[in-house]
Symmetry: C2
């Protein structure tokens, strides 16, 4: 009976005292004179399994020579464990060596720094830490789909290659089939008529605009895919390629949006807690002490909804010395976010932002000064989600684009949405990798995504 380690952990009663076949890798190997233990994993379960053998085994010598990192196929019997660290173990009948592993295998069983593991990105998924992180990543991605699909949202595959360049392309990668040493030039400019698409083409930085065209057909839609930005910034929270979730809902105002964000985030956290208890326990112990308390607190808390103006009032009244002075016309900085989530003891929606620091498509409030934007800030991680109600009025949107020096003609199709049966609608963007940082306690985005891309770093 061929099994996965997962099968055995999940149905131990069924397999106890049974002969089985299992394939996987040697994580550790302790040899004594008369017996040996192999720490074994096939990667299907966070916990490893113990294999044991003793002098009764005619191949004792051969087995005891098996090296850490090797791939093996094992035949044996599941038995109750005599040790107290596990309930069962596998008594080896025979082992077949599938793939040997030399002594210079970089992933020897000792503590490795995250920095070292980043250097061996192709092997680090095998380490305990990345077993935890990548499982949580996979399960939270599924939680996202579960949430939206079970609530009647359509998964919208918005495009990644785009010619919609209305926000200016300085944050977007160019995509071309040209030989870059021999770009055809016409009148001093690259001659894109000769490129595959016949136009200057960019890698998308957001699916929102296209998402809105879908929301105005299906009411509730979401995107979930990679996103690209050229920011030349080497911080712990920026990557040039990241995954983003962008739901968009017709007929939702800012309050509806906040209701949904809170509901969604709690759903995802709960889902991951239900499906990854071992992984979260590991992260709580080795990555962020207090992680489980943090997540439990999020589930219990009712998210506050406070205007940007009132937030600045509180920051100014705090009497604290700030690196960035709180400003009614300005952004809320990391230090402010921390103070505010402490002040309220939980997640806070900061809403109704000064319009001059926000995007052209956000709904202009009646005060003429603010837009119906909302950022969700949570304890420790800070900003997790940024969203807004969208401007549904054709003229206001058109004029705002002109004011900001953008060309509305570039995205006439987007403006059409305000012409043909337009309606209020709202949406947000949530960086998925930052969500994984929040869920695992990992402090560097480079450790949440299997092959991170950051300036000067696109190996593999």
């Amino acid at each position: 009976m061929k099994l996965d380690v997962k099968d055995i952990y999940e149905q131990i009663d069924k397999f106890m005292d049974k002969e089985i076949e299992i394939s996987g890798w040697i994580k550790n190997h302790r040899k004594q004179k008369d017996f040996g233990f192999i720490d074994f994993s096939d990667g299907t379960h966070f916990k490893r399994m113990q294999l044991i053998y003793d002098l009764d085994n005619p191949n004792f010598e051969e087995i005891s020579k098996l090296k850490i990192g090797s791939a093996i196929k094992v035949f044996g019997k599941i038995i109750e464990s005599s040790g107290k660290n596990q309930d069962f173990e596998l008594k080896i009948d025979s082992v077949e060596l599938l793939g040997d592993c030399p002594d210079d295998y970089p992933l020897q069983p000792k503590k490795h720094s995250l920095e070292f593991l980043r250097e061996i990105a192709h092997l680090r998924p095998r380490s305990n830490t990345f077993q935890a992180i990548n499982r949580i990543r996979s399960v939270s991605a599924h939680a996202v789909h579960e949430y939206f699909q079970s609530n009647g949202y359509i998964y919208a595959h918005t495009p990644f290659l785009t010619t919609a360049d209305c926000e200016g392309s300085d944050q977007m990668f160019k995509v071309t089939t040209f030989d870059l040493a021999h770009v055809p030039i016409k009148e001093g400019e690259a001659d894109f008529s000769k490129d595959l698409f016949g136009q200057k083409t960019l890698l998308t930085g957001s699916g929102q605009l296209h998402g809105e065209t879908m929301a105005l057909a299906y009411k509730k839609i979401y995107t979930f895919g990679p996103t690209f930005r050229t920011e030349n910034s080497n911080t712990k929270t920026h990557a040039n390629e990241f995954w983003m979730i962008e739901p968009e809902v017709a007929f939702y105002d800012l309050d509806d949006l906040m209701d949904m964000e809170e509901d969604m985030l709690k759903f995802i956290v709960k889902y991951v807690m239900d499906h990854c208890p071992l992984e979260l326990e590991f992260c709580d112990k080795f990555i962020e002490n207090g992680l489980l308390d943090k997540l439990n607190n999020l589930l219990k808390s009712e998210f506050k909804r406070i205007d940007h103006k009132e937030i600045v009032d509180i920051l100014l009244a705090s009497g604290k010395e700030w690196e960035f002075a709180p400003d009614y016309e300005g952004d809320i900085h990391k230090e402010h976010e921390k103070y505010i989530t402490d002040y309220y003891g939980g997640p806070v929606f900061i809403k109704n932002w000064p319009k001059d620091i926000k995007a052209y498509y956000m709904k202009q409030n009646a005060d003429g000064k603010t837009v119906a934007a909302v950022d969700l800030v949570v304890p420790i991680a800070g900003e997790l989600i940024g969203g807004s109600q969208r401007e549904e009025d054709y003229d206001k949107l058109y004029n705002r684009m002109k004011e900001m020096g953008l060309d509305p003609e570039q995205i006439d199709w987007y403006l059409d949405l305000r012409k043909f049966g337009g309606c209020i609608h709202s949406g947000f963007g949530m960086g998925f990798d930052r969500l994984v940082m929040y869920l695992t306690g990992v402090e560097n985005i480079r450790d949440t995504i299997p092959y991170p891309r950051t300036p000067k770093n696109c190996k593999y």
Copy 2:
């Protein structure tokens, strides 16, 4: 009570005779002297809803002027329908016009050609046909995740930006932050040391190599994301941006892989049939006559597993005149696929292909002539999935790369997988848009993806 149309269809007993509020769009409007019918949809359900009003309504005049395409908010009562086309309808108390729609709205209620709808890609999601296609697309995407997650696979987010260029970059887009009119040149070549990543960077054409690094850690993994190819080919089945699913499983040989492919495909088809009965019925009626029979047949059939050599024997013995002569060393063409699925009366796995027409990473069979590759061909659609067992032997892989003029040093990390605990493993790639073509009967890939990208076509 604010509702979605979906809520009402799914729980009509609960809402019958209740006063409700609902927002959506006018799809059609038939006015009589004494009463009127509005065909209404909020996009949350494939079926529309009928709204009725008559002279009892004090705003009869105003309501009767509402235009097709407008967004409205309606208050009214759900009642049993007097007509025989539906079980219920909504008697309007009052209507609020949210967004008007001018008479030149391109999506008037009449039959539009798919070609015309492609020209208004931002509005076509509102049409019946795209209501069906996009719902099936969303549900089948979820089916993919459901299948792999419930079978213990890890969703692996392999990178899209890559410097791994071992297959030659002629099929891959270049990605850069350079101003293409002023690319820095050094010794006649583009000076990529000045680019964001400091290296020539490409958009991925497959996540397989990175996926293998994950499979050798977690046994079972899958990717699901966009993929990019520069093919300058204007066929019905090619797009330059498409979605692909690439599972990879350690310890699986070719038979295990075929088992999984068959199981997965049947799961997805069944899932979509269970979740989109109305949409499939529509497609069967208006897009591909016999679609439902085709899908039911797939569920019932046991997929055949035939060697490439035997397929060519059959083609040669057929006595047919072929456009492409069947060839023991050559590819299987569309006309051959059709003959073979007819011949066997169902899906066929064509396996063990001549090695010279397949990729370097496929496992070399003992005969020295073939590789353990497998293509799944299905009736009508032809090839749906292409996969292989991977070469797990370091030297064979290395030498094959050299033979084919590829540079193994470029992907030393990939070769490492054969050095540190290597094992047999297998995987496949399935084009998701082609799967949607199969599931909907749509004949042109441009109609399965919301914003298709094809040569000279990257609008929006």
